[in-house]
Amino acid sequence: MKNKKKLLLEIKDLKTHFFTEEGVVKAVDGVDFEVYQGETLGIVGESGCGKSVTAFSILRLLDYPGKTVGGEVNFKGENLLKKTEDEMRKIRGKEIAMIFQEPMTALNPVFTVGFQVSEALMMHFKMSKEEAKKKSVELLKKVGIPIPEQRVNEYPHQLSGGMRQRAMIAMAMSCDPILLIADEPTTALDVTIQAQILDLMMNLLKEFNGSLIMITHDLGVIAEIADRIAIMYAGKVVEYADKKTIFHHPLHPYTLGLLTSIPRLDMEMKRLNVIPGMVPNPLHFPSGCKFNPRCRFTTDRCKKEEPPLIKIEEGHLVKCWNLDKVEKEVKKGFLVGV
Amino acid sequence: MNRILKKLFSNATSLIGIILLFFFIIIAIFAPAITPPLSDDPYQIPRMSWDINPQPPGSPMSDDMKEIYEFLEKEVKWEKAICGTAEGGYDIFYGLIWGTRTAFKIGLITVLLSMLIGVILGSISAYFGGWIDEILMRITDIFLSFPFLVAAMVLTTVLGRGLDKVMIALISFGWMGYARLIRGSILSAKEETYVMAAKALGVNDTKIIWKHLLPNTIFPVMVQATMNIGSMVVTAAALSFLGVGAPVGYADWGQMVSFARNWIIGSSGHAGQYWYAVFYPGIFIVLFVLSWNLIGDTLRDILDPRLRGEL
């Protein structure tokens, strides 16, 4: 790493399990990554990989039957898992904010947009209703909602999907948080609206020198905005590196599989690669490496022993036994273009 | 299906309901063995004596009655009225046993027929919508606007007394709930993609309603129906109590309670003297309704948290 950036958030071996009737679901079972000040970390994974649960674990928003059972969440040097609920409440919304995927369900339908943006302001900064409303109008304007003086009194259902997401961003940014966690914020939006929202988020963060954790399954979005990327599979981080490394020199078979199986605009694909099989059922994880049933480099060792997180170099971690095999394939040139 | 049965048996309340229901089923099946009929119509409660006052439990059959039965060449299998007799010497125990059959008849037939009418009307209304829906729903509203007991009474007055007329009245004014219930479910189910998929395959409307919509929406209706079996029996009893139901001496719990109405208070100086005339048929009604309610309640609980498609 060239410039020594300040470490804002450090996740070490985070484990969150759900104790259900049918058994223990190890939704997050060993997640490690770092977020530096002013940078964007992208968490990539498919449904069921544990990325949302990771986000909720950081903010400790989980309820029974979910419980964080191990690891450290070091924010500005302090372990959030050891804080009291009161202390967490002071952090949520003020220092760490979150925006969600479905703006219609994340926004309360019976309160006006203005009220919801004001809520955090009134709570964290003890503003009066009028002051908070004034600030809300400013915030709505900042996120690009036209005629904010009118919109501030409207209800979520009166706004379009893109507008609602902007309102949610306004809510999240209202207290100038230093870390924003965005859980699939643009997945439900049209692609032209997505472009607007991503652009907005990037501008706002640059202005505040804030950090972003962007959770998504879309590798295209990640390529545009992330600085560092953590690839998650079955509750674990299987590869963690900076953007260029992940896209040009990946080392985990899953990362490789993802990159070669998605259709893309920048090249003519002869044939899409296929990752056979499907995401495992969290109640019946395979033994050994969780990816082994779908992996084409799998060996007997993979079926029995789970690989540790291996440090390739500073800032590049991979969880795999067959690194040399994968590296050979990558060196050959793995994108099947024309 | 198996999971539902397992859940039904593991839940305490529904287990009680099932045991009670089982008890009633056994009685109904073995009625001829428990209390063999003493006249051509098995639902005719035999008299134990000619006493006007109800006789207490354990009273023996009077001699003149025994002579009559000997004359009629009917074998008397029991000597004592275990639960006493009602006014006119009718054996209460006999009435309880054969009344169980009557209760099942009333409950099952009225619920099945009113459910049939309601489901047919409601599903046609929901599937086709438009003016068909409007007309059918307005008809439903008209029927709903009649206070049930009054309407049932008027109908039985017009049709005449008798349990079958009571059942007609119960069916005529009991189908609306099912119609509305199934209409609501089908209105939402018909928007499901698999319905459109069936249309794309070329499946015709009747088949779509029958094969796709009804199986996916009938469950709440069946739960409602289960709960209603008990209440139909109570309503029939109410109508009997009001004098429009079964005739005197018919083996029907409602009729028995009704017939005991003169004796509820008891005679002067002996309050509650004739408690057995009201208590026994009354407790049977209560337990019968309770059993269906407990089962229906548990069925509803099983239904609610279940995601569709897990059954």
Binding site: Q196, S261 | T193
Partner: protein, 324 residues
């Protein structure tokens, strides 16, 4: 030159907006507003646009799962726009559809063998049950599901598997054309390529024609032969795939392409950010429907609606920029 399989002429589909106690029609959602295009045998026509553009309504209207208000649908030489219900049922054998949501497109109470056999049962193909289930087994194998699973229920399968079952159901009637309505949008990323490859293989084997409706341009680029772009009920551009991505004519198409994120950190592209939201199809802008958001807007655009014209061979565009 391949044969013309499907011709859509001036197709219109409006949905009424009803308000008030008496459900009076107070307005119309102009979901599909006078569109015309052709589909040739054996090709994959990509129909792309964002939400509200009318692409799904188009696919459903062609199948007459929604009744068209105006226009013509000519399938395999036959005008099927207004034919009787019973005649249309017969035509349905030849035109099938795969839906977006694998979870609600299969009846949860039917075994998958019956779901797949339903079409054959309806059209009296293969008279006896055993023959039909044999065919079901073959179809399941073709789509990559073990035939022994045919007695199972939909909830026992994953999303990707359910989509395969949906494909098997569509194939059962041996159709000539299949509408793929966002067939892979609801699937996980690692499953998408499986289904896309399957669709491509089946197309080759059975000489199928696809009308592929999607909002994901990357998928459209991979699978289509020709591309049709829709915006607010209108077609704004039609072209061969290579031609389209090489040189999109319509400003909306250009913006759409530039908005798609590419999984390549070094990829440089022209940044075109559209302002504002997509307007409501109940109240489309006058003149060119795209003009309020267009970065190349001219005075004429707000007054006169541009017609779809052939600018280059096989490349059509509806934009005043190309008025000669």
């Amino acid at each position: 030159m391949a044969d013309l399989l499907l011709q859509v002429k001036n197709l219109v589909k409006y949905f009424p907006i009803k308000k008030g106690v008496f459900r009076k029609t107070v307005g119309w959602i102009k979901a599909v507003d006078d569109i015309s295009f052709e589909v040739y045998e054996g090709e994959t026509l990509g129909l792309v646009g964002e939400s509200g553009c009318g692409k799904t309504t188009t696919a459903l209207t062609i199948l007459r799962l929604e009744e068209p208000n105006k226009g013509q649908i000519i399938f395999d030489g036959k005008d099927i726009t207004r034919i009787k219900r019973s005649d249309m049922q017969k035509e349905r054998k030849h035109m099938q559809i795969i839906f977006q949501d694998p979870y609600s497109s299969l009846d949860p109470r039917m075994r998958i063998k019956d779901i797949i056999a339903e079409g054959m049962l309806t059209h009296n193909i293969l008279k006896n049950t055993q023959e039909r289930y044999e065919k079901v087994g073959e179809l399941l194998k073709k789509v990559g599901i073990p035939a022994e699973y045919m007695d199972r229920f939909p909830h026992e399968f994953s999303g990707g598997q359910r989509q395969r079952i949906g494909i098997a159901r569509a194939l059962a009637l041996e159709p000539k054309i299949i509408m793929c309505d966002e067939a892979v949008s609801a699937l996980d990323v690692s499953i998408r390529s499986q289904i896309i490859n399957l669709l491509k293989d089946l197309q080759e084997e059975y000489n199928l024609t696809y009308l592929f409706v999607a909002h994901d341009l990357s998928v459209i680029k991979y699978i289509s032969d020709r591309v049709v772009v829709m915006y607010l009920g209108k077609i704004v551009e039609i072209a061969d795939k290579k031609e389209f991505f090489n040189e999109p004519f319509h400003p909306y198409a250009q913006a759409l392409i530039s908005a798609v994120p590419v999984p390549n950190p070094d990829y440089k592209k022209e940044r075109i950010l559209l302002q504002g939201d997509v307007p409501s199809p109940a109240n489309p802008p006058k003149g060119c429907r795209f003009h309020p958001r267009c970065f190349k807007v001219m005075k004429i655009c707000s007054k006169i609606e541009p017609k779809l014209k052939e600018i280059k061979a096989g490349h059509f565009c509806a934009c005043h920029l190309y008025d000669k």
